[in-house]
């Protein structure tokens, strides 16, 4: 007991010391007007702020969602490096781990908001964590930029919550429309994992889009997000002889699902959402991935200047292809930079104001506009896998 209470007392002292330092550094933040270390001179590319802007990022670096967090971390670190090289405004990016545990997410958010006085928080990785952490930031008047949350009800939490990740609802109608035009779908089977917020939203969006296009759902099959053996479900799907297999799944499930679907002899197109938009699909499923249609927020094959630069830099740094999570996290910090430069200020209120005003910013995700509901407005893309590569479905 003595040891334990000793260490708690130690933590308390440490915390006090830390918060004292924190407030010393940023004593003038949060005040809005007046002179501040986080305000600079010039605008846009000429903006110069001497103090690095403190940014906190919360990703799931361990636990169940660690593979997404890892991608996001890579994307974000790449962007931070590039911005540092660019100069003028620098960012002190602190990436923390929520261990895929909302409780830790809340604790980290609180530290960022109250103790570390971050100008903005990027994250967290999962939507259901965001629903618990973002109110903390909203109350602390700290802007949050979500770079992977796609569930409904995130930006509705408050006017400090923004996101650059296109929701399934924004992507899927286009996907279904394009697929219908191309393949002439009339009846389909839908498969989704019903115990995950992201894939469940995807299912809702698919259902709505299918209804709108007059396509019949002959069978709806659910599974669990941790499943990897889908043969039983696929046998049921195959039995109803659909024109296409519509799936809302995370990449961990997508690869075995696609592989096994081809294995049991389902040859019709498989249509997926954002969860499928990863090079891991082709790396994992190999030839089985050919013919998979993926509607997504990021066109990995886009030859836009920003995207090309991103791909080159990412491959150079990590010798691997980025996925959508990396692209969205990378773009996130770039958008923050655009907002900071627009007002040439790293104050919370200024970042919030200018994030809301972002319009037609060229990014790796395409031209980015922040919508009136603080949601992403970027072009969605419908891709199809052809001989191991994403190509735009035409």
């Amino acid at each position: 007991m003595r040891r334990l209470s000793g260490s708690i007392a130690g933590a308390a002292v440490l915390a006090l010391a830390l918060s004292a330092c924190g407030s010393g550094n940023t004593a003038t933040t949060g005040g809005g007007g007046g002179t501040s270390a986080l305000k600079g001179t010039g605008t846009g590319d000429t903006c110069k702020i001497t103090t690095p802007i403190p940014i906190g990022a919360v990703f799931s670096l361990t636990g169940a969602a660690a593979s997404y967090g890892e991608s996001q971390k890579k994307g974000l670190e790449l962007a931070a490096e590039e911005l540092k090289a660019k100069g003028g405004v620098t960012y002190d990016v602190k990436i923390e781990d929520d261990a895929t545990d909302p409780q830790q997410g809340i604790a980290v958010f609180e530290g960022f908001v109250t103790k570390d006085k971050k100008s903005l928080i990027i994250g967290p990785t999962l939507s259901n964590t965001a629903k618990q952490t973002d109110p903390v930031a909203q109350e602390g008047k700290t802007p949050v930029l979500a770079v992977s949350n796609t569930a409904a009800g995130i930006t509705e939490i408050g006017d400090y919550i923004f996101r650059d990740s296109l929701t399934e609802g924004a992507v899927i109608p286009q996907t279904i429309k394009a697929a219908k035009d191309k393949f002439g779908l009339s009846k389909v089977v839908v498969m989704y994992s019903n115990d995950d917020a992201f894939t469940e939203s995807g299912y809702q969006a698919f259902k709505k889009a299918l209804d709108a296009n007059g396509i019949t759902i002959t069978k709806t099959i659910t599974f669990s997000k941790s499943d990897t053996d889908f043969r039983a479900q696929l046998a049921v799907a195959k039995a109803s002889a659909p024109d296409a297999l519509i799936t809302s799944a995370l990449i961990e499930a997508a690869v075995p699902l696609v592989t096994q679907a081809r294995e049991v002899g389902i040859t019709v197109p498989i249509i997926g959402g954002n969860g499928f938009n990863s090079p891991k699909l082709m790396a994992g499923a190999g030839k089985a991935a050919d013919g998979v249609v993926v509607g997504a927020a990021w066109n990995s094959a886009s030859s836009g200047a920003e995207n090309a630069a991103f791909l080159t830099a990412y491959r150079a740094k990590y010798s691997a292809d980025p996925d959508q999570f990396a692209a969205q996290a990378y773009t996130g910090l770039k958008l923050v930079d655009a907002a900071v430069r627009a007002g040439c200020s790293g104050e919370r209120e200024d970042i919030k104001k200018h994030l809301a005003e972002l319009k037609d910013v060229p990014t790796a995700l395409g031209k980015f506009t922040m919508s009136a509901t603080r949601d992403a407005d970027t072009p969605a893309v419908v891709q199809v896998v052809e001989s191991g590569k994403f190509a735009v479905l035409k």
Partner: protein, 291 residues
Amino acid sequence: MQQLLNGIFLGSIYALFAIGFTLVFGVLDRLNLAHSAVFSASAFVGIELVARFGLSIWVTLPIIFVFGGLLGLVIERVAFRPLKGRHDAHFAGLISSIALGAMFLALLQAGFGPDTRRFPPDAFPQQRLEFAGAVFSVLQLVIVVVAFALMVGLTLMVSRSRLGRGMRAVAENPHAAAVLGVDVDRVTALTFALSTALGGVAGVLFALNVNSAQISMGSSIELKGLAVIIVGGLGSLPGAMLGGLLVGLAEVFAVTYVGSSWRDVIAFGLLFSILLLRPQGIFGARQVREI
């Protein structure tokens, strides 16, 4: 027919995992919750051996058997032996094996990163077989055969060999076994090693079968593994096999006839009712013991 086979294949995977799990419980009356970490770790190491060093799967499997066994020795030495003789050894063993399992998984992430990994597509012959209109892969057949062979082999070993006699003696009464000259520590360690060696092989075959290996793959099968060993009868090897098949078939038929959302309700409902009707499980003969 296809679904029947699917159920058998799925069930064999559960059984493979559960056979090792139930062995430790049957002999030592301990649940080793680090078993699932060995399952994951072996899959990752197996992938590394095949993908990085180009070993054939047939060479990899024996190596993984040894690797899993070594992890078992570590688990026994670190998480279980220090608890010997403590009155709370049952609870403490649960927690210490959870803690050690978490450490294994952390090391796994340190070594291989958090991403999903998989065997190279040509690691195992991709041939498909057809039987009575149902399609399946050579691999699935191998899994069923391996699971069955292990079950039979182990049952024979426990009933015939010297080590097996030692195991049964320890299971019956460790003190008496020690008096009769059985080296209890050695038998315990070997039981752990054998159990996790099987868990390791199960991990590799599982990863091959579903074309995917994740750090958390062990914890998602752990719950099913618990269900299987209860359904079959704690500590019973044929029970683990039969329990695995039963749970696998129940799930597949739930998907086919009831609706996939209710699959796990059916599986756990089955578990629940078996516990109430026949707490010792289908094959369990042993008395109910306190954990």
